[in-house]
Each structure stands twice: as structure tokens, then as C-alpha cells.
């Protein structure tokens, strides 16, 4: 059809360009609708919300201290019975009842001043974890194993002098944390390692976020507080409180820290922002489906036809024009193939 000097004119793929521009415009709009509101629909978190979370975190810390203190009360009741009642089986019976009626203990033991276990109930207790004292005392064992170990001990005076030591179940330390309300509330030991949390945690893991570590330090030095922190572009409401008591022997250096992302707060524009994100996702989904369909049915076959037409116009009639579909473009392809065969026959 053409001589080498009459090369087919180059053409601009208008259909492909319009399709690409259209798809890009819709995807861009979808992305803008989904992401832009999170930057321009930013509003202040009411101060009362911050204050109330701080109050609840302080409540959780106080209730945890009460739970630990009531451990001393429980053991004092048993100690009073051992001191007053002389039956040789009394310590064993009272400890068995203690572990049966109070589910917070893993085990309890009555030990002599020399450390000999005189009676016990539940699992074995490491009585040496608590230093001997003439006052009720709390102690946390060194981090080891898969769960934190917190002990309570009270002295038994009189003729049957000794100590009663009990170990708390980890769950009894975690359950008061729920009082802090929504968000993840962590219980940290004196080394600022996590020993409990309302969401999943690994015992004795360090805090990975500097703002939480700072909160734990503030709890120890300045008492309860709350602050807003920016974490990965999202605001987090962080509150903290020390688990403290007036009794020196019951100080464990524990700290409660609550972390709540702003997404869990119902701010005035939360629903509007979520709806716009949904709209953005819908626009993107529709774009992928409709423009994908357009590409398969129209753009790709038209592009292939133009390529074959240019090839035939350039004199290359060796390869046939493939007819893939039965539609307008398929019929055009069939006609183009007839042209190719006609040229081949003449040659």
C-alpha cells in the first residue's frame, strides 16, 4: 500500500489519553474526598473530656491500690484467727477458705520466722519475695516468666509468730484498669515495663511510644495528669496516675497510663469525616470497575486495531488481524482483516 518513503502518519492515541485522564481525575477526586477532611475537619477536643479521662484513670489507680490493700485486710483476718485459735489445723483451714472465697489469690502460705512453710493453700508461693516486716507489705517479684507476680504479706504475732504471704493472680491487677473507660489502659511497674493492660499485651514489654513513657515518668514525679499527643498524624488523649498509698511498705511504684486515640471520640465532625471517607472509597471503586470495563471492551481493542491498521498501511500484511469480540469493534477488525487478505492476494 505504501512505499518505504510513504510511511504511515503517526497518530495521537486520543481514546487512550481521554480514558487515562478520566480515570486519573476520578481517582484523584476519590483520594481527595477521602483524605482531605482529616486535615481540614480538625476540631478541639473539649477540655472536660480530657479532665474526665484523667479522673477515671486516677479512679482506676485508686481502685487497684484498694484491691492490693484489701489483700492485706484479708490476710489480717486470717492472722487474727491463727493468733487467737489454737487448733493445729486452723491455719490450713483458714488459708483454704481464703483461697476458695477470694478468687484474687493464686496461692497463700503461712510461714515461720525461719521460713518454714507451716500451712498453705492453692499454688506454691515464693515467700522470700517479700522482705520480713512487722507491718503489712506488698512486693513485686523481679521480671521473669510470662506473668507479673505481686505478693502481699502480713505478720502474725503472739505465740504462733510468723508471716502469711499470698500471691495475687494477674487478672486481679488488670480488672480495676477497666474503670479508666475506653482506650487502652496499661499498668506499669517501677521499671516502666507493662505488667497489665485492658487490651492485649506482652508481660514486661517496654513502652515503644515516647509520649507514653513520658506519661509514666510524670505520674511518678508529678502525680495524675493528662495531655494530648500527636502520634503518626493522629491525636491521642493520654492520661496517667500513680498507684500510691501512704504506707511505705505498700509502695510498689506502679503507674496506670490510659491511651485513647481521637478516633474513638465522637467529635462533631466524626460522622461527616467517616461519610466522606466512604464516599471517596466508593468513587475509587466505581472508577476501577467502570474504567476497567471500558479498557477491556473499548480502549484495548481500539488500540490494537489502530496498531494493526498502521502496520498494514506500512505494508506489513504478514500477521492476521485477530477478531476477538462480536461487537462494532469486532466487525471493524473483521473488515480490516478482509483488507489485509485483499492486499495479500494482490501481492
Amino acid at each position: 500500500m505504501t512505499t518505504p518513503e510513504q510511511r504511515p502518519r503517526r497518530y495521537f492515541p486520543i481514546a487512550l489519553a481521554v480514558w487515562a485522564l478520566g480515570a486519573t481525575a476520578f481517582l484523584g477526586l476519590g483520594a481527595a474526598v477521602a483524605t482531605a477532611p482529616s486535615s481540614w475537619l480538625v476540631e478541639d477536643i473539649p477540655q472536660s473530656v480530657v479532665t474526665e479521662q484523667q479522673t477515671r484513670t486516677a479512679l482506676a489507680a485508686r481502685q487497684l491500690q484498694r484491691a492490693l490493700d484489701s489483700g492485706a485486710s484479708d490476710l489480717n483476718a486470717v492472722a487474727a484467727g491463727i493468733r487467737t485459735l489454737n487448733d493445729v489445723d486452723t491455719p490450713s483451714r483458714l488459708l483454704t477458705q481464703l483461697v476458695a472465697t477470694r478468687t484474687r489469690y493464686r496461692g497463700a502460705a503461712y510461714v515461720s520466722p525461719s521460713g518454714v512453710v507451716l500451712a498453705k493453700a492453692g499454688e506454691d508461693v515464693d515467700a522470700g519475695a517479700v522482705a520480713a516486716s512487722d507491718k503489712p507489705a506488698l512486693a513485686a517479684a523481679a521480671p521473669q516468666g510470662v506473668s507479673p507476680r505481686v505478693f502481699v504479706a502480713v505478720p502474725v504475732t503472739g505465740e504462733r509468730a510468723g508471716r502469711i504471704v499470698a500471691e495475687f493472680k494477674p487478672q486481679s491487677l488488670i480488672s480495676p484498669l477497666a474503670l479508666a473507660g475506653p482506650g487502652n489502659t496499661r499498668l506499669l511497674n517501677a521499671d516502666r515495663l507493662v505488667i497489665g493492660a485492658t487490651s492485649g499485651f506482652t508481660a514486661f514489654e517496654p513502652l515503644t511510644r515516647p509520649d507514653l513513657d513520658q506519661a509514666a515518668q510524670s505520674a511518678r514525679t508529678a502525680g495524675a495528669g493528662a495531655a494530648l499527643h500527636d502520634v503518626d498524624g493522629r491525636r491521642h488523649l493520654v492520661s496517667w496516675a500513680p498507684v500510691a498509698t501512704a504506707e511505705q511498705t505498700r509502695q510498689l511504684g506502679l503507674v496506670v497510663v490510659t491511651d485513647r486515640p481521637e478516633t474513638s471520640l465522637t467529635l462533631p465532625h466524626s460522622s461527616e469525616r467517616n461519610e466522606l471517607v466512604l464516599l471517596g472509597v466508593l468513587i475509587a471503586t466505581f472508577t476501577v470497575v467502570i474504567f476497567g470495563w471500558l479498557y477491556v471492551v473499548v480502549i484495548s481493542p481500539l488500540w490494537a486495531l489502530a496498531r494493526d491498521a498502521a502496520r498494514i498501511a506500512g505494508g506489513d500484511t504478514s500477521a492476521p488481524v485477530i477478531v476477538r469480540r462480536y461487537d462494532h469493534l469486532g466487525l471493524v477488525a473483521r473488515d480490516l482483516e478482509r483488507v489485509r487478505r485483499g492486499l495479500t492476494g494482490r501481492i
Binding site: 486520543i14 473530656v49 485459735l85 473507660g181 461527616e272 471492551v297 473499548v298 489502530a306 469493534l329
Partner: protein, 346 residues
């Protein structure tokens, strides 16, 4: 002349048409939905939620405290039981400084008090018949309310004695303060105040918290105007473990708030803007697709395979390229026929 029916050839308009309809519906529907009138509470929802969460936390703390008191009493009962077995005497003296204002052991058969510490025993508040299992109830002692906790000494089925403690509700005050120092109350299922903190002893406007089944949780909050200020009333039933969760008691708090929501038309304006941008984009993109893709294909179909097309074919783009090839083929064929005719004449 007979006419043969030619099967209709499907066009390539379907994705364009479906896309136009879908995107148009999306633009219209999204605008209508996003621009709908929104309920604007006079107080921000986050403040209402915070009030409800704090009141719920206070209710949970009260539950823990009451249940913890009863568990402590069970521990005391164990020692009392042991002392009764060994000495035929109830050992109560070591527990006189515990949480109960009055702690005593009651003979269930004769209803006589066999041991007591603290204030004078008031066994009459237990009513008839005496409870057989551990529990608690509210009782009027003199002019004040007291929470009476009781537990059998020994196994419940064969217990001869009942250990009774009068719990001072004021011990719960610091827990109620968490829900609001301005006004928080522990109320029974009829709305009567058991204990309260802050101003006033009556609930605002005789508020009665919604009734719940044992173990069921009911919590909520609402804003209400009180003169020239805005208050948030929040309530939460005692939840958690039995027996406290079966008492039907609730914590109710009322707190003035300064965070007031201002109704604006911004959401509607934003929705209309987004809808308009989407609609304009739909019109522009689909018009371009029709003009530069669909129409040239239709024109191409009319000229392809026609020896003498009645309409001109497309000129530009991919369709134009194909149309030019057809035109070149027609010209080439006509030239060849002319050459052959000339050769025959010779």
C-alpha cells in the same frame, strides 16, 4: 423482494452508559445524604459520652466496693465459724475497725445477737424471714440509710448463725465524686436516693433511671437546660458481678457544662460542594469519552468495509488511523481496477 433479518450487533456503549448512570447516581445520592439535616445536640456528643463513661466508671467502682465488702465479710465469717467450732464463741474483736459501722453475729433460730462490735446491732432491719444466702439490702436505720450486708456462718444450708454488717453508704462518696462532685447520687430502682454527693438530695426533676433486668446494663446521658445554663444528666446501673448487679441500683449524675455545640451550615455547604465537583467531573469526563471514543467508533463502523461510504470517517486518534487505512485500501483497489480496465482495452 425478500428481506433477511440481520442480527443486531452489540455496540460498545454499555460501559460508558453504565458508568454515566452509576456516577450520576453517586453524585446525586451522596449530595442528598451528606447535606441532610443533622441532629445537633446542644452539648457536643463527646462531652455527653464522657459524662456517661465517667458515670459508668463510678457505678462499676461502687459495684466493686459493695461486692468486695461482701467478700471481706465472707472471710470474716470463716474466722467466726472456726472460733465458734473451737471455742463456742464468735471471734469479732479483731474486725471492729473494718468497713462496717456495726458488725454482729445473729442466731438464726432465736434471732439473738451472740457477738457484736461497733455500733448497736439492729437485727430488725433484716425483716422476715431471715436471708439464707449472702447478700445485701438497703435499710432505714434511724434517720439514715444503711447498706446491710449479710452472710451465713459456715455452709449456707446448715448455717446456724448469720454474720451481719451495716455498711455506711457515705464510704461510697469518694467513688461517686468521680462522676461529678457537683451532684451524683446512688439511687434504688424507685429513684430514692441512698447516698449522694454535691448539692441537693433530690434527683433533678424527679428523674428515675430506666429499669433493668438483673445483670443488664443501662447507661446514658442527656443534655437539659437548667435556667440559663446547660446541664448533662447521666446515669448507669450497677453492673459487674452478683449480688450488686441484681440490686437494681443506679448511679445518677448531673453536671453543668460549658462546652456548648453551635449549629452551623458548614456540613451542608461542604456536601453540596463535593457533590457539585463530582457532578461536573462526571459531565466533563463522560462527554469527553463520548466525543473522543464512542462517536469515532460509531463513525468508523459506518465506513469500515464500505466501498463507497456515505459519511466521512473519523480523522483523528486511533479510530482515525483505522479509517485512513480503509480509505487507502479503497484507493489502492480503485487504482488496480482502473489499471486492469486499461489493460483490457489495449
Amino acid at each position: 423482494m425478500s428481506r433477511t433479518r440481520v442480527p443486531r450487533v452489540p455496540g460498545v456503549l454499555a460501559p460508558w452508559l453504565v458508568g454515566l448512570i452509576l456516577f450520576s447516581l453517586l453524585a446525586g445520592g451522596a449530595t442528598a445524604y451528606l447535606a441532610r439535616p443533622r441532629d445537633v445536640s446542644p452539648v457536643p456528643q463527646s462531652v455527653l459520652d464522657a459524662r456517661r463513661e465517667s458515670t459508668t466508671a463510678a457505678a462499676q467502682a461502687v459495684t466493686r466496693s459493695l461486692n468486695g465488702g461482701l467478700s471481706s465479710m465472707a472471710e470474716v465469717a470463716t474466722v467466726v465459724d472456726e472460733s465458734l467450732k473451737q471455742r463456742n464463741r464468735a471471734l469479732l474483736l479483731p474486725f471492729r475497725a473494718r468497713i462496717w459501722k456495726s458488725l454482729y453475729v445473729l442466731d438464726q433460730t432465736t434471732r439473738t445477737v451472740v457477738a457484736q462490735v461497733g455500733e448497736a446491732a439492729q437485727p430488725a432491719v433484716l425483716g422476715e424471714p431471715l436471708p439464707k444466702e449472702a447478700g445485701m439490702k438497703i435499710a432505714q436505720v434511724g434517720t439514715t440509710h444503711q447498706i446491710v450486708q449479710y452472710t451465713p456462718v459456715g455452709k449456707p444450708a446448715e448455717a446456724k448463725y448469720l454474720l451481719v454488717g451495716h455498711y455506711d453508704p457515705n464510704r461510697l462518696s469518694d467513688l461517686l465524686t468521680v462522676a461529678g462532685a457537683e451532684g451524683t447520687w446512688l439511687v434504688d430502682r424507685s429513684g430514692s436516693v441512698i447516698v449522694g454527693v454535691g448539692t441537693g438530695t433530690q434527683l433533678p426533676q424527679g428523674f428515675v433511671p430506666p429499669a433493668t433486668d438483673p445483670g443488664e446494663n443501662a447507661a446514658g446521658s442527656q443534655a437539659q437546660r437548667n435556667g440559663d445554663r446547660m446541664d448533662v444528666l447521666a446515669w448507669a446501673s450497677l453492673t459487674g458481678r452478683a449480688p450488686s448487679n441484681g440490686l437494681g441500683w443506679s448511679v445518677v449524675s448531673n453536671k453543668p457544662v460549658t462546652d456548648v455545640a453551635v449549629a452551623t451550615d458548614d456540613s451542608r455547604r461542604r456536601a453540596v460542594t463535593v457533590g457539585r465537583v463530582l457532578a461536573v467531573l462526571v459531565v466533563v469526563v463522560f462527554a469527553a469519552l463520548f466525543l473522543f471514543v464512542q462517536r469515532p467508533i460509531r463513525q468508523l463502523r459506518k465506513v469500515s468495509g464500505e466501498p463507497d461510504p456515505a459519511v466521512p470517517g473519523p480523522k483523528y486518534g486511533e479510530a482515525g488511523r483505522v479509517a485512513r487505512t480503509f480509505a487507502q485500501a479503497r484507493t489502492s483497489k480503485a487504482d488496480q481496477q482502473a489499471d486492469e480496465e486499461l489493460a483490457e482495452h489495449r
